[in-house]
């Protein structure tokens, strides 16, 4: 019934001179689509990957971000011995108090300055975030004005090599190690001792608490208790929920990616249409011959759709291949909550590649549809007339 697949494939390949513009056009569309979506995926991962589903994050009521939250030190003692909180083998409650400070630091190669998030952490805070590990050097020692910076930030900021020091206000900090946050939001942070951080930057308050409840039920209880207790103006939520909300920042990039893909694909559809009209025009006799031999209109339409779809697939694969060059490439954007530098990787997932290819094929089919219909309408007699 149908024409052999190789008829469509070879026709798509044999005219590469006239089809290359279409292939490149579709490649460009898919490239832009995949790259922007991979950016969005990277941003989502940088926040979505953060947090432990068992942990609760406590911030001041009404604060949208940890860095904008202020909590009285007294509250730490008030909460610490609550029965819902789990304890470590040494019997200490699994509760951490963090101090967040934004500092303005110079980028490498004179690329201006940007905000960096410093997190003052306690030993419990490090226990509760096991995804953060040391990539190089050693952890800071309290009292020595030492800091461990994110390895990904280190590539972007001046004086972030191990052994170097940087100044912020009156404080001078020495970099003793690089941390690796596994693609989480912690990849955009620098860690130092919490008490030292408070004294260096003259903070009397904490920014957030991180708590590990005994179990899920205890977690629910604790959230309700903190919410209800009028002594604290605090809000507790699951750490993962907090970071998931920060994910919102990827939405505009996704939107832009879709918008550009759609607008550019309209151009690509017309390019494909042009190519396929030319293909049909130059093959009038060939198509008529197939009809004379007994092939039906629908076989001709199908063969041409396959040809257009296959062309588009080549373009799509090319676009994905070029985009893949950026896979794992680290870049940064300004966080909308903290206005600090957020680093993330372009992540080209198999799903994204599949979406890009599907998108390409749809563009190809849309561009082939009308030319294929024209071919189907050619009279059989055309085979025997046109020279």
């Amino acid at each position: 019934m149908a024409l052999p697949l190789r008829y469509s494939f070879r026709n798509a390949l044999v005219r590469w001179r006239s089809t290359s513009a279409t292939v490149l056009g579709i490649a460009l569309v898919v490239f832009v689509f995949v790259l922007l979506q991979s950016l969005a995926a990277g941003i989502e991962r940088s926040s979505g990957n953060t947090g432990d589903p068992r942990n609760l994050l406590v911030v001041r009521k009404g604060s949208t971000a940890e860095s904008a939250s202020l909590i009285a030190r007294q509250n730490f003692q008030d909460l610490r011995y609550l029965p819902e909180i789990a304890r470590n083998p040494q019997g200490e409650p699994l509760m951490a108090a963090d101090v967040l400070v934004l500092v303005n630091l110079p980028r490498r190669q004179g690329a201006g300055e940007a905000n960096v998030l410093l997190r003052g952490v306690t030993p419990r805070g490090m226990e509760l975030r096991p995804q953060v590990r040391l990539a190089a050097g050693r952890w800071f020692e309290p009292g020595h004005r030492e800091v461990v910076v994110s390895a990904k930030l280190a590539r972007r900021f001046e004086h972030f090599d191990i052994g170097q020091s940087f100044r912020s206000g009156s404080a001078t900090l020495t970099v003793v190690g690089w941390l690796e946050g596994g693609g989480s939001a912690f990849d955009s942070e620098c860690w130092l001792d919490a008490d030292e951080c408070r004294s260096l930057f003259e903070r009397d308050m904490y920014s957030s608490f991180l708590i590990r409840p005994r179990d899920a039920a205890a977690g629910e209880q604790l959230m309700a208790r903190i919410e209800a207790d009028r002594r604290f103006k605090l809000k507790a939520e699951r750490e993962v929920d907090y970071y998931r909300k920060q994910t919102m920042t990827a939405a505009p990039i996704k939107w832009l990616g879709n918008f550009l893909a759609v607008t550019m694909s309209i151009g690509a559809v017309f390019a494909a249409m042009n190519t396929m009209y030319a293909a049909v025009g130059s093959r009038t006799r060939e198509i008529g011959t197939l009809r004379v031999l007994g092939f039906r209109r629908r076989s001709v339409v199908l063969a041409l759709l396959l040809e257009g779809g296959f062309l588009a697939l080549i373009g799509g694969a090319l676009g994905c291949a070029v985009a893949f060059y950026w896979n794992g490439y680290t870049t940064a954007t300004m966080g909308f909550e903290t206005f600090s530098e957020i680093v993330f990787e372009f992540r080209i997932t198999p799903r994204l590649v599949a979406e890009g290819l599907l998108f390409a094929v749809m563009v190809g089919l849309a561009g082939t549809f009308l030319p294929a219909l024209r071919a189907a309408r050619l009279p059989v007699i055309a085979a025997l007339k046109s020279l």
Binding site: M1, A2, R285, E286, T289, G294, L384
Partner: protein, 227 residues
């Protein structure tokens, strides 16, 4: 010699092209019978309606009036998809311009009509190889049309026309684009199909030397048979 069964019976066949006000009568009340096994040549000046008549008999064009029975079937009454199947099973086509599919090899070109049948691939291969052998191109099976000479291309086209074993083979100026030696080969091939192989061959030609290969010749002039 007893009178052979007619394979083609044409009665009062007319074809009129209407172009606005002007009407062109391509065929005017033609009646004709063709016996099975004949090698009929159609001759006549340009524009006399030779191709038009051939196309109607072969089921690629429709007359304005009249009937055309081929093996008892009135092809003018078949709908489009019936005609497509009918052509595939009953008619082999040879074109002046060969009309091979450029991206397919000789083998694949010859196999095309068989893809519309229920034959399995092994059976198709046997039939394709047999007809390519018949036209003397077994060694060119996997060549693309552009890798063949004009004469070889036309022989592949003849193989394609024969592969479904049709009763009727039609050829519109099959030697029009060939040098005289290739033309001789092609004509010899067509001739060998008719009497010995029992096929009916209808060939349009301008060339009296080509027409000499036929068993009977008819002439058209302004849409009418002259002898």
């Amino acid at each position: 010699m007893d009178i052979p069964e007619p394979i083609v019976t044409v009665r009062n066949l007319s074809k009129i092209y209407a172009q606005g006000e002007i009407q062109v009568t391509a065929l005017n009340q033609i009646s004709l019978t063709i016996a099975a096994g004949e090698f009929l040549t159609l001759m006549g000046p340009s524009g006399s309606g030779k191709s038009t008549l051939l196309h109607i008999i072969a089921g690629v064009d429709r007359p304005t009036s009249g009937e055309c029975l081929v093996q008892g079937v009135d092809v003018t009454q078949l709908n489009e998809s019936e005609l497509a199947d009918w052509r595939n099973q009953n008619v082999g086509f040879v074109f002046q311009t060969f009309n091979l599919i450029p991206v397919l090899t000789a083998f694949e070109n010859v196999e095309l009509p068989l893809l519309l049948t229920r034959l399995g691939s092994a059976q198709r291969r046997r039939q394709v190889e047999a007809v390519l052998d018949l036209v003397g191109l077994s060694d060119r099976m996997h060549h693309l049309p552009r890798q063949l000479s004009g004469g070889q291309e036309q022989r592949v086209a003849i193989a394609r026309a024969l592969v479904t074993d049709p009763k009727l083979v039609v050829a519109d100026e099959p030697t029009g684009n060939l040098d005289s030696r290739s033309a001789q080969e092609v004509l010899g091939l067509l001739q060998s199909l008719s009497r010995p192989a029992g096929k009916t061959v209808i060939m349009v030609t301008h060339d009296p030397k080509a027409a000499a290969f036929g068993s009977r010749s008819i002439h058209l002039e302004k849409g009418e048979l002259t002898r």
